[in-house]
Amino acid sequence: MSWLLGAFSDRRTYGSLVYSLLGLPIGIFGFTVVVTSFALGLGLVITLLGIPVLVATLILVRAMATMERRLAWSLLDASMPRRPPMRPSSYGSFWQHLLDLFSARQTWREIGFILLRLPLGIVGFTIAIALIGLMFGGFAMPILVAVGVESQIGSWIIDTIPESFFYLPISFLFLLVGPRILLGWGQVSGRTATSFLGVVDNREMKRAVTETLVRTGEADAFSILSEMELRLGRVPSVNSTRAEATLLALESTGQVQAHREGSTTMYRLRDDKPLGQK
């Protein structure tokens, strides 16, 4: 019972309600903008006018993804990286920059999420509205009938006060389970948002390891992982397997060297003088 009632006092239940209600307009807007702009941009590429349209679309997608990250984090407590995803470097030619922008996995994940937001938004909005109706309809019906408004369920017309109480137990039931359903949907939405928008890419992992080793000089993998979590945030994509793989990758390219001290492996940057030290 406390499992059911606990959802009432959970801030995320109300966050999930707001997130679900906002999902439909945001989903429609995002889907329309992405599909229309891509169709227009790709169609016009042959005249070169399509390139600025596509670039503007990507910039808009990033802005929308940033807003989505904040929404999911603040309303659903979804895990999101502490700092925004690394953008392609501003060095190199304009075309290189453009190519980086199009080839970045993060860009396509953001586009995927914005497209997915429409079907998810429809489901979320339907759940929220149906639950509100079921939770409060039974209480509103006697009042409506008393002021002369008839209700109808199928072919049954409810126009007397005793009839109007029929719906009350159903509303009581949904008043109990409704918040829990909303909370559950919020968790599903939050995890979806994290899996698309909360991914820390390999370059950021490598940068976090390098920064940690610059600061500490030498560290074992446990300290490196906790430093990564501190810098990048506690997100599912920052985990022990990825930390181990990042260290292996840096070791194989010669940027990091490792040596065993008993049962632990210590890592340090290959340079004698770590970066940032004079």
Partner: protein
């Protein structure tokens, strides 16, 4: 294999077990629903086997989930496994 690698391997194994458990839960829900639909079809007067639509439609997702739970590995997992095989070979 150092302490951290052992912990990472344990975490990978725990994730693998969780992924498989979620698959079996999904499969149980799928199976129960399909049995219910087939019974509904058998008791009704419809001759057209309409239950095949959810059976195959949802079946695609069940197949995809099975691949994810039992076959798919992340690039990091593949890399670590290769590396440990190489170091075992060296040892």
């Amino acid at each position: 294999m150092d302490e951290f690698s052992k912990m990472a391997a344990r975490e990978r194994e725990a994730n693998r077990i969780a992924r498989r458990q979620w698959f079996w839960l999904h499969f149980a829900v799928y199976l129960t629903t399909q049995v219910f639909l087939v019974i509904t079809w058998a008791l009704g007067d419809s001759t057209f086997p309409w239950y095949v639509y959810p059976l195959f439609g949802w079946g695609i997702f069940i197949a995809a989930h099975a691949v994810y739970a039992f076959v798919v590995k992340t690039p990091e997992e593949i890399m670590i496994e290769r590396e440990s095989r190489t170091s075992e070979g060296r040892g």
